[in-house]
């Protein structure tokens, strides 16, 4: 348990120091990842039907 906490703190400290070093990250790399998404639709799901020919 203590080992896990210390490892977590070490990783967090490493990330923080990298984040605040002010140096430029090398972005020229391929990457893979995952996302969580929230979707919101405007008029999404609303069917539209023009007037029937006889009613035009």
């Amino acid at each position: 348990m203590l080992r896990t906490i210390l490892l977590s703190l070490a990783l967090s400290g490493s990330a923080l120091s990298y984040a605040t070093a002010g140096g430029n990250h090398d972005w020229s790399e391929p990457y893979i990842g995952g996302v969580i998404s929230y979707h919101s639709g405007e008029n999404f799901g609303r069917l539209h039907q023009p007037a029937a020919p006889l009613l035009r």
């Binding site: 990330a15 972005w27 990842g33 929230y38």
Partner: protein, 150 residues
């Protein structure tokens, strides 16, 4: 899931290409509608949404604000309660947005992103003497994600 490749061009300018595939349902229900037969509720559902986009950003330290635009594809269905599925098709269109990505380690980056998807209209066949119905497939996407750089 998402994947891509970035390239630094010039000072602080980063461009890249990104492909992502989303599994899951995006649903919306309309209790009222312009369509006469939709009084009991229409439902549109999108699944297997994917995009292929270009990204362009300006690096500020380890942070990369960026613009992105490309094409999106999705399987969309439209159904009416009590009647069943009326339309089922693949739709495609423009996807664009903005985001910010930050590098927490040389290998791990995190991002938040807003995308607007305009995938046109899903055409829905109706009775013989009535014009075809359609429903717009347009929605906003808010994302948070983690990337691993090789």
């Amino acid at each position: 899931m998402t994947g891509g490749y970035n390239l630094e061009v010039g000072q602080n300018i980063v461009v890249g290409v990104e492909l992502d595939i989303s599994f899951g349902d995006i649903q919306s229900t309309s209790p009222t509608s312009a369509a006469a037969f939709c009084g009991s509720g229409c439902k549109t559902e999108v699944d297997d949404f994917s995009t292929l986009r270009l990204r362009g950003g300006y690096e500020i330290g380890n942070t990369l604000p960026y613009f992105t635009a490309g094409v999106g594809f999705a399987n969309a269905t439209a159904a009416v309660t009590g009647i069943g599925t009326l339309g089922d098709d693949t739709v495609s269109g423009l996807v664009f947005g903005v985001g910010v990505e930050h590098a927490f380690t040389p290998k791990i980056t995190a991002k938040i992103e807003y995308l607007r998807a305009d995938l046109g209209n899903l055409q829905i066949p109706t009775l013989r003497f009535f014009p075809t119905c359609s429903t717009p497939v347009k929605f906003d996407i808010f994302r948070a994600g983690l990337n691993y750089n090789f």
